[in-house]
Symmetry: D2
Subunit: 396 residues, 4 copies
């Protein structure tokens, strides 16, 4: 057992940490107060700095121009990037592009790689992933209603998707649609690449979330597919392999998500401690002298340590034993870390008092926009049930 | 002991309940999607309906044109109004006007009543209450930095206040300012009426809260007072009585706030149950068949019942034994009910899944905008400590 | 609405409170440190005092020699008695005798009343109630395995029961046994009175619970029924009415149980506050000055108030609207109050430090012996599910 | 980073695991149902088996006849031993002997080693450690009241200690007593070895804890020291070094305690899962099909994983960076793991229903006897405050 940061990563991790804290967080207030399209130029400049330092696409293999890190190593990078809402975007490993990049790399044919993966990996275009539907339970993907019917050399897609993150301004979507309605339960859907300028693809609205419609990468769209026709060569992987590929997409993605959440925790924790030390009460006492604040801090520290170690342990298992062996751990971290994040952010707000409710700090942003963590990619309840069932198999 | 709704209130309470559910909630989506100033006309029309039915100012004595309800009775009305974010506004009992109305009624002189109380009670103007300051701990009001210095027949006010709710468009503010800096700890501050068009009164900004600046009644301002001069006749009550009056203002106000929160709970609870029954899963099963959802529902129901009874009990004590005897209860409900509200809203969101994050329901609004309940009027931690200290006196 | 103690009860309640605090609690250490059979004489003397004061059988109608209190009124008495583990026993309203007394009164024929109810109501004999079985899920009473087969004028009972509280030394048991195995699900079982000296009735053991076998009234037995033959005239009520009668038995019983738990909370709360005020730390500071202890106290007070009001509200509903209308409330208080009790006792222990673990205070007794509250009469989980289902009916 | 079991330990750990599960747990019911003195012979035989396998004193250096494991390695062994209440005793690493062994090894002189350490390390005698006093706050050891006054070549000890674990039948006590009352706050007390047959050393009682007085190793005594005279050569280490040595004693000890608690969690978790799979409900459904039970299982698994990783991380830090660098982690695990343990045991009881309350399983034993974990060696609250203060230093 060894709990130290991997040696080859330690120095670069420190540098990235400094970059996030000194460069990115300094620009954060401005970036967060404008819409994405306004921020985009500035973000692009930051991306150039990142590329120049050799930190672009930390999660991707070297042949794609990435850093070639292991799941655990990218987890550690993801933690640091999570300290700022634009961290992942600036390093090119933001959802949903990172996941799309991965499945295009694994399942795309040469033509698909040339047209979609290459520009995506260079950050020239953005993409989106369309699975969730308003009318069917996301926790049960076999209920998908969106269909892709073969017609000559084409698929004709019809349906409605929502919470398609970052569709606004994206170049293409990867769409889960039922191609084999009478196939086995998990073999009915396929993933199909749909350029966003395809006729019949239309964004109904950017869904207002917690009072914000957002824009560009920072938005979630509702999208109608009406007789949306793409060539059958846009099929990603095998027909009917939609779920299989989606699983592949979610696996390491959960690690990176969870480590991003840990990064959010660390940021909120630092802010809570700084506030406690600086907020003057009577005499020379600060909030840091109050036991109830001390309890917030100790409990948060314990929970963050717990969350972090659990994610790293799961990442290590994926790297060393394989994704399959880590399925229980992946479900556990999904709900455990999301819960810790919301609790730590909540306590940090409480210690900030009224200030914590305002946009003068990043805490309110996290409070409102990370609440979804307990819902997307499977709500807490689904992960608890699924982890328990898997565990109980060895006792039955 | 008698747990039934007071007989004289029961029928009118049912009518108000129907009005809120059928008229107000029907208009809610539109009202919430526009700014306050746009909504104002429509809200005015609703106010006319309320006046016509004799429900205007439920909390105020009949001589002010109100319904003359007891604290407990208005609590029950407040619960029903809390089911919609504009409920209290439409009935004329919204914060901060309701509190200002009360203290003007109790402490204002005839001139003040004529100029400020009368138009306020008719809903012709709005007001605000300026206590919280960005630089001093709200939980310790003896630290107030804002000063009002006597100069001839005037007070000259200097300082900075923030979270002055509804200042945007208000006709006057009631400002807490230090008039006797060397007085006893709780006798330093006074309350002074400041018309908002007084030179030296300037709104620096509407503070962005959870991503929203808001406007009009639905906003929280940061306000600078620079040599802001008002006649000494604008003093409300005695000089140095600022805290005393503020306590008076907060007492029954907490009941109404807490019952409003209970109303929010009831609304969120109904939505959670409706969603559970309507969200289809496999076969003919809905979310309502899932034990984890059932546990949410049973736990929420128990907590709401608990919260509601505690507030009503405190209200009864105020009505029958006096405010002083109910101080512990009032601190207890402040943190207990706010906690229950946030938990119930959170569970309702969780049961709605992605939909719960959107503005397609009112839940996200409550999640973001009621988080402050655990902070304003004294954060949870301050109320816990203060209740405990009072309790411990009888054991010491 | 009226939250005051009923006028006719207030003075007697105060007297009972003083009796418990001054007489009973003074004898408690001695009573708890010996077995029941040793304590019995002293307990008998205390019972005589109670009878002399006219407080015997508070829950029972006057015709049985009781105080003739309403459910709510007896609830208030039960709260006070709950302050000491022997409170209910000394007043004659202890489980399981109180429940048996009630159903014998409601369903017993004249002969049964003469032979069983009369001596029971005078406290001359004790009884037990045999429902729970080791092999079948208590939450699903339709699975009962114990049978009573008619044979001539007799029932012949075979089966195994456990957690038959107070069987050790009891004069008779009321046994739930299947008499109509092919009847409708809830009509298979009957209640049959079985004198404990009936051949075939044998106590296998007093079950060791948390390290204690106990004895007499303070024990839980495992009992075998082997060809245990009683006359058919020992049937209580109708054949097949077992569940119906059991429900009757549990209804008001839950109120009294829950109020007993509230009494335990009050006792533990008092002890926690006294300890906080007396435990010296540095200088002149006591534990009462520590915010974490203050938070324990404020949170406990809020939760106890909540629990208490919920139980009284449910009691009021039973008295005024009927048991049926209060079913949801009864399920809610079952799990809510038990949870509050365990939390308050746990915090009181924590504030007592090592002392709280010892038998030098009553807290360890409560901690160990009231844990069952979350299990008996239906575990938390069953009550949550059942309350939710009932609630959801009106939304479906 | 590497989350695998250290290679040299893996095979032996598996063997110890099997020994605990197959040999020790098989004898557990018998061992737990008799007093310690009755069980002692059987325990001695088990110790012989352990010695024969080379597993004796896993925590001790080879020169003492131990396995020479690192802190982390012994942590992993401790986890496995924690699966049964007598695990540590049978392997010779039980508290308080393990701690005494360690400080005698580190601070004892040759004579002390020969007379006390040698027989202790062979398991021939038992010892105890006397710090806690009934009248002074354990969380503030500078308040110690027990004194050791020099008189010629002797120390004369006077005072009262309680919760001296395992004093009943011990050969010697290591006693914390004030030798320099006017020394600096943490330099007043010394540790002195007191043979239990010294005149003036008398056990007042075995303190009844949760209804049990216990006996022998499984007891906690209250002990009076009245003019208890021992030679000054019985001083352990330097005069005034009492706290320093006590810290040394607690450091790695906390790791082993915490890993023992993790072992208890694993045992309770296994039992919970086995029960869930075997408890039949309606039809072919078992408790394992119930979502509320599944949630217990998933949440427990997550919390145990979290607890375990945090302890191993702290152990790794002690081994690789030193005890001092791990002080925050050690405080965090103290309260975090104890809390997880109590929650997991509680849920396991709940899933067992009435059976969980009985001594037919080991769960009730854990519930009652491990409650102290949140109190001894510093209550939760003290560790939270102390960890927070240490953390806040770097923000101040």
């Amino acid at each position: 057992m060894d709990f130290s940061i991997p040696e080859r990563l330690a120095p670069v991790l420190r540098e990235i940490h400094d970059f996030v804290n000194e460069v990115l967080i300094a620009e954060e207030p401005e970036l967060l107060q404008t819409g994405f399209f306004t921020a985009e130029a500035r973000l692009g400049a930051l991306r150039e700095q990142v590329k120049a330092k050799g930190w672009w696409l930390p999660q991707a293999p070297r042949e794609l121009g990435g850093m070639g890190l292991s799941v655990l190593e990218h987890g550690l990078v993801s933690e640091v990037l999570g300290r700022s809402p634009y961290g992942h975007y600036v390093f090119g490993c933001q959802a949903p592009d990172a996941g799309n990049l991965e499945i295009l790399h694994l399942f795309g044919n040469e033509d698909q790689k040339a047209r979609f993966l290459q520009p995506l990996s260079r950050g020239e275009i953005r993409s989106c992933f369309a699975m969730t539907e308003p009318g069917t339970a996301g926790s049960n993907p076999t209920q998908l209603a969106c269909t892709a019917v073969k017609d000559g050399d084409d698929y004709v897609i019809n349906g409605c998707k929502w919470f398609t993150t970052a569709a606004d301004g994206a170049a293409f979507a990867i769409v889960m649609a039922v191609t084999t309605p009478d196939g086995p339960k998990h073999g009915r859907a396929s993933q199909i690449i749909v350029p966003c300028d395809t006729p019949g693809f239309s964004i109904s609205r950017n869904i207002p979330v917690m009072g914000h419609r957002g824009e560009g990468w920072a938005s979630h769209s509702e999208i109608r597919y009406e007789d949306c026709r793409v060539p059958r060569t846009n099929l990603l992987g095998e027909e009917g392999a939609g779920f299989l590929i989606a699983q592949e997409r979610l696996g390491p993605g959960r690690i990176h998500h969870c480590m991003r959440w840990v990064g959010i925790c660390e940021r909120a924790f630092d802010m809570m401690c700084q506030r406690a030390c600086s907020r003057q009460l009577d005499g020379d006492k600060t909030l840091a002298h109050k036991q109830l604040v001390q309890a917030f801090i100790a409990e948060s520290r314990a929970q963050i340590n717990a969350a972090r170690l659990m994610v790293l342990d799961a990442a290590w298992k994926i790297d060393n034993v394989g994704f399959s062996a880590a399925r229980v751990e992946i479900s556990l971290i999904k709900f455990f870390v999301a819960d810790v994040m919301m609790k730590v952010v909540d306590r940090a707000i409480q210690v900030h008092g009224a200030l914590g409710l305002t946009d003068d700090t990043v805490l309110a942003f996290y409070y409102a926009h990370e609440r979804g963590a307990r819902i997307y990619d499977g709500p807490d309840e689904v992960h608890k049930v699924s982890a328990a069932r898997r565990i109980l198999r060895s006792y039955g």
